[in-house]
């Protein structure tokens, strides 16, 4: 295998695939990226056995062929080469790959290509297309709520599934860590009528998100019950799905909350941010006291003191005091693009629903804190 590639093209593709590779690997081949040179392009492939990314880049290939080298070493070298450099990669055999650019020359150890594991997609019977904007929305507005707690591994991802609301078929993404829940939906795309409910793991979500911004307008999604694949113009991400049952989240979305508060989202978020400067680092607790058209935000901590801020809201229920983790409030308000946010509450101990007043495609549930 012998090829020449421009630094920028290699760096971009390598940047995507190398982050799949775990820093510490017990299986040597999993530290490597597979370089596959075809006619006028090169395909880079990295995997951790659960997640696999293949990305193509334009290259001047003189001898087609393939090899594998350490992904992090290669990335490190390419990163440090000067902008605009032309990189020659030559896998002459003998377990070595020679990389040269300008006056730099590197000899890298390689491992045989046939040892490189293939995460076979298997049959992926459900196929549909999402716009990049739709996929971005599904991810951005839910991923902050993904649990990192291994105890409930089935919450360590985004639950993607078919749903229905007022007779409209929907594709819905839900993530929760038990303290907050985010649910976002888009119209069900053609081809997704029979999709099973699947849980896309956190790491796949993170890598997927990076690919969206640098790709075209459409993403082809295909899936089975155990795998999901996202195909972009130049890149294909295939991931195993979390083998578990997502809890019946519908039951924790309260339907009977009757205390409704509407607030200008930006000023609310700013006030929360300011007041939370005082709240204890551990709990990040902040208190919301509602009375008539006034919301008083307050926080206190034995070390730092106390803070209050008053803002005007639309609220017509009885007086209410309720506590929240300020970081969770900010996570949600950051996702709200419209001007107004609506809180639907019951009491200080029951889950509160947050939504954008003018866009009900996203819904957030927050568990209050004891304050």
């Amino acid at each position: 295998m012998k090829l020449t590639i421009e630094r920028a093209a290699l760096l971009k593709s390598l940047g995507h695939v190398q982050s799949v590779v775990e820093r510490r690997n017990t299986i040597p081949i999993l530290s490597n990226v597979k370089i596959d040179a075809g006619d006028a392009s090169v395909r880079l492939n990295a995997t951790d056995m659960d997640l696999d990314i293949v990305e193509a880049a334009t290259a001047d290939v003189s001898t087609p062929g393939s090899t594998t080298v350490s992904a992090h070493t290669l990335y490190d070298i390419v990163r440090k080469l000067p902008d605009g450099a032309q990189i020659d990669i030559d896998a002459a055999g003998d377990g070595q790959v020679v990389l040269s650019a300008g006056r730099s020359r590197f000899t890298l150890a390689s491992l045989p290509t046939d040892e490189f594991p293939v995460l076979s997609g298997g049959e992926l019977p459900h196929q549909f297309t999402l716009s990049a904007a739709e996929l971005r929305g599904l991810i951005d507005r839910t991923r902050f709520a993904i649990s990192t707690e291994e105890t409930r591994y089935y919450l360590n991802g985004i639950y993607l599934h078919k749903a229905e609301s007022d007779g409209t078929a929907l594709l819905r993404a839900v993530a929760t860590d038990g303290h907050r829940l985010a649910s976002v939906e888009v119209p069900l795309p053609a081809g997704a009528e029979e999709v099973p409910g699947v849980i896309v793991p956190r790491k796949a979500v993170a890598e997927l998100r990076k690919l969206i911004d640098e790709s075209g307008d459409e993403v082809a999604v295909s899936m089975s019950e155990s795998k999901i694949r996202f195909a972009f113009d130049d890149a294909v991400l295939t991931s195993k799905l979390i083998d578990g049952t997502f809890p019946d989240y519908q039951r924790v979305i309260p339907a009977g909350n009757d205390k409704v508060m509407e607030v200008e989202c930006k000023s609310f978020a700013d006030a929360v941010d300011r007041v939370s400067a005082i709240s204890s680092e551990k709990s990040r607790a902040i208190k919301l006291a509602l009375s008539g058209g006034t919301l008083v935000l307050s926080a206190s901590s034995p070390e730092h003191g106390s803070a209050t801020e008053e803002i005007e809201v639309a609220f017509d229920g009885d007086e209410l005091e309720i506590g929240f983790n300020s970081a969770y409030l900010l996570d949600v308000t950051r996702q709200i693009e419209g001007e107004m946010a609506r809180f639907t509450m019951a009491d200080a101990a029951s889950p509160t629903v947050m939504q954008e007043t003018d866009d009900t495609s996203a819904l957030y549930v927050l568990m209050p804190m004891r304050v």
Partner: protein, 422 residues
């Protein structure tokens, strides 16, 4: 605990230590320095070696007696003493408290039993070989806890600043600031508490009085049982120099063996080493060690009395290996820890797994939790993950699980949308 007591405390009113003072040389009979009579609590600023007020020879005489204010209290063969109190037929018999089964260990041996060799933590079968006539009484922690509370209540009359170490051991800050009064003298208040415990609770305790915790603990061990020993500043350094290194709190078998390898047997041999060298040799502990060997200890008597961890452990009947067997064993321990956390209204932020290998090496492994918990199943989940990493085929004889980083239950297990659903 001292191992040199020859009689049993409950049975014999006099102990060997005071017998030595039976016939002091005539020259010492007056002008011996500040003296307190432990029987009638009379104090003589420059007293004789027996009490002019009541004639008792149980007097404490020490030049710094009036100035020392840190005490260490240690109950004498505590569990055994409680059992003897409750069953007078055991009074003159060798009594061993502990589990009688095949792999059981001695929790406490009374002073009569100790003459034959049994000691705490000794395997029961070995203890029974040494002392076949011993009566084995099963442990009754609930009862000991209750007696411990009674004792604590009496010491609380002496000072509000008490740091319990275990059920039968505590440090007391007897300083004027801690007590808010300067009268009676610390030694007098302690002697009174000691006497009251004998009268009201029916067991004996030994007291060590000094000017820091390290020395107070050494002192309580000097004159056991029913002892009262004093270590003053003047003799502290010289006194500790003669002790074996194993007397230092924190020098266990491993460190002692390491020191022995380097030819160090007594604390005196450590006294000439600069702190830097001690740290280089023994790690972070070297810093505290540097103070200890000079008779210095800056640790305060920790008033809040809160424990740093809650744990439970069990010794297997037969050594075990394999993750599954260990996980099965840890389940009930997690339940116990969870229950004790709930009873105390506290929670833990770190799960600690303890394993003792077949050759008595102790391993501990920690894991920090996303949220503090008091739930047995959360503790268990993390315990199992820790076990998974250690269960590589080695055999273990003991497993323990605990939580540290204790906090109030209010901070624990934040309300969860799914609790009750799963």
């Amino acid at each position: 605990m001292a191992q040199n007591g020859l009689e049993d405390t409950a049975a014999v009113p006099l102990e060997p230590a005071s017998q030595a003072a039976l016939k002091p040389p005539e020259t010492l009979r007056t002008g011996a320095g500040p003296t307190l009579c432990r029987d009638c609590l009379s104090y003589f600023p420059d007293g004789p070696l027996d009490c002019p007020a009541c004639g008792s020879i149980r007097v404490i005489c020490h030049a710094e007696l009036a100035g020392l204010d840190i005490a260490h209290i240690d109950c004498d063969a505590f569990y055994a003493a409680v059992e003897k109190r409750d069953d007078p037929s055991l009074r003159d018999k060798p009594v061993i408290v502990g589990h009688a089964g095949g792999r059981g260990v001695v929790t406490t041996a009374c002073y009569i039993a100790r003459q034959f060799g049994p000691r705490s933590a000794m395997p029961m079968f070995k203890a029974m070989e040494m002392c076949p006539g011993a009566v084995v009484v099963p442990t009754d922690m609930a009862k000991y806890r209750q007696v411990s509370q009674q004792i604590k209540a009496i010491f609380l009359d002496a000072t509000p600043v008490i740091q319990p170490v275990s059920l039968d051991e505590a440090y007391l800050d007897m300083s004027d600031e801690a007590r808010g009064v300067s009268d009676p003298l610390p030694a007098m208040a302690l002697a009174e508490a000691q006497r009251r415990i004998e009268d009201e609770v029916g067991i004996t305790v030994s007291i060590g009085l000094s000017y820091n915790k390290f020395l107070a603990k050494l002192a309580s061990d000097l004159d056991k049982p029913r002892g009262f020993s004093v270590i003053g500043e003047a003799e502290a350094k010289e006194f500790v120099a003669t002790l074996p290194v194993s007397k230092i709190n924190g020098v266990g078998k491993v460190t002692a063996a390491k020191m022995a390898e380097q030819g160090i047997e007594t604390i005196g041999q450590l006294q000439d080493m600069p702190e830097m060298e001690l740290v280089a040799r023994y790690g972070k502990f070297g810093r505290r060690l540097a103070g200890y060997v000079q008779g210095e200890d800056g640790r305060k008597v920790n008033t809040d009395g809160t424990s740093k961890s809650v744990s439970a452990e069990t010794t297997f009947r037969q050594n075990m290996n394999g993750a599954d067997a260990l996980k099965e064993a840890v389940g009930p321990l997690c339940e116990r820890v969870g229950k004790r956390l709930a009873d105390k209204g506290i929670a833990g932020g770190t799960v600690v797994l303890k394993l003792k290998t077949g050759d008595f090496q102790i391993l501990t492994r920690n894991r920090q939790l996303p949220n503090p918990t008091q739930k047995a199943d959360v503790i268990r989940y993390h315990a199992e993950a820790l076990i998974e990493a250690e269960a590589d085929g080695r055999y273990f004889r003991l497993i323990g699980i605990g939580v540290a980083d204790l906090c109030s239950a209010i901070e624990a297990d934040p309300p969860d949308l799914f609790s009750g659903l799963e």
